[in-house]
Amino acid sequence: MPAETQGVSNLTTLLAKALPITVRNITKTYGAVHALDDVSVDVKSGEFLTLLGPSGSGKTTLLMVLAGFTRPDGGSLKFGDDEVIRKPPHLRDVGMVFQNYALFPHMTVAGNVGYPLRLRKTPKAEIDTRVEEALETVRLGGYGARHIHQLSGGQKQRVAVARAIVFEPRILLMDEPLSALDKKLRDQMQIELRHLHEKLGMTTVYVTHDQREALTMSDRIAVVNHGRIMQLGTPQQVYDKPANRFVADFIGDSTFLPVAREGSQIAFAGTPLKLSGTVVPSGNVVLMVRPERLRLATADVPQTANLFEATVANVVYQGDSYLMYAHLPGGIEVSLRGGIRGDAVAELPMPGDTVTLTLDAADTVLIADDDD
């Protein structure tokens, strides 16, 4: 077969596997609480979208609406061109990985993974091959005969993924699938799930409260709070250009410094700030300072940097880096994260030292002070 045609057929199968999701004006209230407040979002075909938010933000409710387990008060939900808002969950044909995996304890691993295929009346021989294929995809080939209670947490997680993808759904939903794993395994699974997504290409909606996980895995992140989407953007956009104070606060560590408008300029403690291409929101603004963007001033400070005099309060050694807490003149505490190379530890400032901190104009981000 010529290489070209093969490429085309692969592409079409890949495209056939993914479906865009269109969410329009979905609202869900529990008593007086708006779990979802007029949510609209488009998930592109084959995209990995993460719903990121604190507990009770509505991210899980939105996922449950997508899966069909929660009936919203109103709104529209389309998978491709099909309106599915009234479709019962068993007819939606979406794969889902549950937070506690929800593996059936009375079935073996193969029984669990083969379950959706048996429901679809797949021939026995085909079930066996596809189950083994799915298990190999999650690197659990040969585990079919095991019982669920014989598996470790990480293995259960993989079985849950295998079960969710074995029937080749065009949409995959994941509800905090890694929250029960220890950190090392979690980091490893993040990469694995990401690879799996690249390989299978299904549209994926992933729920987590872990911002690092969201930043690592997603094509785009929807930051959710109070049942609304606070910002939708790439990991870099939500981290570097947070749309509001909630997003800036929730993702990464940040300190907010009060600034004042002085004519056309924005000033901190009387000194106008150097800005580079920063969009200044209307209304009250605050300056967002991230610890890793602050630096200790060296001999040649770049022209484009903003300078802050500060008194060192504490320096914490953290192995791969150090964290320095320092007080600005107004008494505001900021933190600075710096790298440690070799014997440079001895050269770190001591508490009580006066230091100059620099913040590059490109990293000088102003946020609307909505205080939401």
Binding site: A67, G68, F69, P88, P89, H90, L91, R92, D93, V94, G95, M96, F98, N100, A102, L103, F104, P105, H106, Y115, P116, L119, R120, R163, F167
Partner: protein, 299 residues
């Protein structure tokens, strides 16, 4: 070899091991009253029962009490009736109790506790009171016949007591809680996410029930059924009162052997057979469920 050497050379190794042995001895001492109780109220009486069952009418060792059970038709009939009543009661309890337990398990917790109380109150009421209450309700001039006739369900008073029907009605009523409680417990322990997962994977509610919910509740159902069946095998009061002498079960034969014929050997032999049957059933069941949890939901 290395291991023993190091443990001996460890500081305080010997004295620590002596402390451990002493502690185990003390623990055993603490449980000795319980062991004594088991000996006095269980081992000795059952041993005595065995002994008496092998004593013939002439006071000598004999198998006549057992031979009689095999030889006489009346004994065969009694055993058949006993199993018949036990099977039917268990079957009816499953048919009524399982759906009821399912209904209760799906209720919001406030209503569920109310439903649980309605199951438990009769359970705590005296057996005799309930049995005689059924006698009053079911007899020819009883409430049920009167109502049925006045409503035109049937014309003549019909016989629903002093026979198998009456016995079964009373037995099912009394046995129902023994089935409902373990089934209910097993159902409450089923995570709702299992059903969500089944549904997400493409199972209609009916399929999800039969492929996931029912198998997960089955240990509870098995435990409850077993309990009911075993209790039925040795049941006395209800068949005696509501059976009207037409439903003779093993327990009633034991009573008549003692009260009418003063034949302790025959009565003991029946007791031994009943005990052996119960143990055999439990032994078979223990291969499928954890019998120790029989009352607790059998996980």
């Amino acid at each position: 070899m290395m291991m023993t050497d190091t443990s001996i050379s460890l500081p305080h190794g010997a004295s620590l091991r002596r402390d451990g042995a002493l502690e185990r001895l003390r623990l055993f001492g603490l449980s000795s009253p319980a062991l004594l109780l088991v000996l006095v109220v269980l081992v000795i009486p059952v041993g005595w029962l065995f002994y008496v069952s092998f004593i013939g009418a002439n006071g000598q060792f004999s198998l006549e009490n057992y031979e009689r059970m095999i030889a006489r038709k009346s004994y065969t009939r009694i055993f058949i009736t006993t199993f018949q009543v036990s099977f039917l009661t268990t079957g009816l309890c499953i048919l009524i109790g399982y759906p009821l337990a399912y209904f209760m398990s799906q209720l919001p917790s406030r209503w569920a506790s109310l439903a649980l109380i309605t199951v438990l109150v009769p359970f705590w009421t005296s057996l005799l009171v309930r049995t005689y209450a059924w006698l009053v309700l079911l007899q020819k001039q009883g409430l049920i016949n009167q109502w049925a006739i006045s409503l035109g369900v049937w014309d003549e008073p019909i016989k629903i007591v002093h026979n198998m029907t009456g016995t079964l009605i009373g037995m099912v009523h009394i046995m129902l809680p023994f089935l409902i409680l373990p089934v209910y417990n097993a159902m409450k322990a089923i995570d709702h996410d299992y059903l969500k997962a089944a549904s997400n994977l493409g199972a209609s509610p009916r399929r999800a029930f039969w492929t996931v919910f029912f198998p997960l509740s089955a240990p509870g159902l098995l435990a409850g059924s077993l309990m009911v069946f075993i209790l039925c095998l040795g049941f006395f009061v209800t068949p005696a009162v509501l059976g009207g002498g037409k439903v003779i079960m093993v327990s009633m034969k034991i009573v008549s052997n003692i009260e009418l014929f003063v034949n302790w050997g025959a009565a003991s032999a029946l007791g031994v057979v009943l005990l052996a049957l119960t143990v055999a059933i439990l032994w078979v069941a223990s291969r499928f469920i954890n019998v120790a949890n029989l009352s607790g939901g059998g996980r």
